[in-house]
Symmetry: C4
Subunit: 210 residues, 4 copies
């Protein structure tokens, strides 16, 4: 397991650095995780409060299903670990990525009253797992933000049940969660959803619809 953990940790660092450069993980925001062992759940995860542009592989934590740190690291797991664990279990995900972009922050607020945001008719949607055509309609649920993370994890669980086809969701004025069967799929979906949110936001500006 240790070699696999090291490999996953190095990949998380590289992905975090790329996302930080794009402005999606500024100011220690966001967190990335990946499953190391599924039976007795072991999750590699970025620690709380670190600069994602200066992360080192040996800062990546290994936590269990109760978000206990089981590696020899002293760092604190992120408060949002319960959301990652919930998604991993409910979606059988291999990786869960949470980013904070300007566009996801804005659009999660603007569409909060609708409970979600529909994205439809873009070729870019074809990159989402299992989607075969641009004629797909993706519903991105939007949940109210909260500092009670255990409660929020429960609401995330409900939303995942209600929207079984959703590839991600937004937390209001907070950011995006998406996941994949592995690191590459989760990374791809972050890029796709961030691209689509920027496109939708700019289209509103371009067409003058406030």
């Amino acid at each position: 397991m240790s070699q696999s953990f090291e490999l996953i940790a190095a990949q998380l660092v590289s992905i975090a650095d790329g996302f930080h450069r794009r402005g999606w993980l500024l100011g220690t925001s966001g967190n990335l995780s990946a499953v190391v062992e599924r039976e007795s759940l072991h999750l590699a995860m970025t620690p709380s409060g670190v600069d994602k542009g200066a992360l080192l592989a040996d800062q990546i934590l290994l936590i269990d299903e109760q978000k206990r740190v089981i590696s020899n690291h002293q760092a604190k797991p992120s408060d949002e670990a319960p959301l990652h664990i919930r998604i991993v279990k409910q979606r059988s995900a291999g990786a869960v990525f949470h980013t904070h972009s300007v566009w996801s922050t804005m659009l999660s607020d603007l569409h909060a009253r609708d409970g979600g945001l529909a994205v439809e008719g873009y070729e870019m949607l074809k990159g989402l797992a299992g989607v075969r055509t641009h004629e797909h309609r993706e519903w991105l649920p939007i949940l109210e933000n909260s500092q009670n993370l255990e409660q929020l994890a429960g609401k995330v669980g409900e939303a995942l049940n209600e929207h079984v086809n959703a590839h991600g969701f937004l937390l209001r004025r907070h950011g995006l969660y998406t996941w994949g069967k592995d690191l590459a799929e989760a990374k791809r979906q972050v890029e796709i959803i961030e691209f689509l949110l920027e496109t939708i936001g700019r289209t509103r500006m371009l067409s003058g619809k406030g």
Copy 2:
């Protein structure tokens, strides 16, 4: 031929990486190709479903005119290979680049009902092959997006016949295709057209014309 293929593959990787950084090939979108041999057509091409920011030269495919993989790679050719092949043959192009930017996605939708987008009076136009003055008027045809790629290749062929001077075209809510006699010319034209699309999009916002 093999050395030439290796050199072309290395250049495709480098160009793909640069475009990915600019946000023009996010989420495995887009594809780049270049002619290795023209007589019996051999095309070097980025494979389907790979992260363009983490591409390796040995992932580049060599395909023939029937989009059969003729190198020893197991990877799958992109669904859009028929469009590349059509353009190579009809324009005698040495390289064909397809990018997905936010601006091309938006403007291809906004101008779809006109069947194209005129770009006129910009110095930047002088960088397009054969253009000698900013007083040039470039017509970028816009085609409806489709998942029937063979049929779409036929429509691309018709558009190329109809607009013999076009340096590129847009697929609606999908992205840009442009090409050149070689890799450098195709890269230059991607940069030029993307710059002009951003300029046109922002000008609409600046002048409040929704």
Copy 3:
């Protein structure tokens, strides 16, 4: 002390380079400082008039409380050193960062008549020192710009007294000042406040509120 100074100088260079790449320190604008010794105040600081994208560690100055250069460098301290010194003393800061972004320039002007700008309800606020919830309301005071830096330092001192919880302030049509107990905290707060200013600016555009 010298080793600590060298380490701090190297970190200032690395942070300056990153901020320059993001467009927050263009054209020799902005300045960064960090405390090397607090008793008899010694401050490491970027010199006046240098390109922050091409800074070298041995260009970093060491100055005292009277902004005298006490290292062996010939370079001139920034005119804004009195502001850094004032903040270090009044907030017991370990690092003071001043950036010039497009968004801080614009919003500091747009909200100048209100004397400041309120930022409220964003998850990103949780990254500010001591803030535990997105339900936080941050007031960013805005001060009129001036070339009389000693006088301006006095006004900064008053603003810091009046707004004891503020994590930063804006100079009108000039930029952002923030600080932290150390380099990492100051860097984090720059990223957070710049993110929030961009979010607020774009939200105004998106919602059509001029």
Copy 4:
């Protein structure tokens, strides 16, 4: 002289690469020059039609006052060399930089009927050579674009005479020219003017003034 030329060539390459990354020299647009010898004028200059993101030092040309290539390079001097030569002579500049950004392209068009664009009251102006306060008013003349470069050089000469304090000018729908006593000053002024143009453009959008 040869060592000085090599050093200047290496710096031009590094500056070109940085500007290309920021999107200010896309598609082989723009050109950079620097004086190697002033008596009998020798100018190091980027050649015509090259990718500024993949430039090599040995591609930099050495030209004389009649834009004859006097180094052993085969490359073609840029059509815009007469503008560079004119500016060098009339302003005693040590370096002349010409960039094509989206913002300079848009604003040079929007303000063309006024013959120029006023920039006033920004701290960033203090970085322009000889400017000591943000209360400075910079007038950026705007000239109609033309493919008759000798004639255009004449008009540039007149504009430089008329606006003796101008630190740069715009060509309509084309881009920015600025210069400095050396490479560092010219680079600084590009960054400053580009920053200010972006600020002015976005402010128009933010305030809803079309």
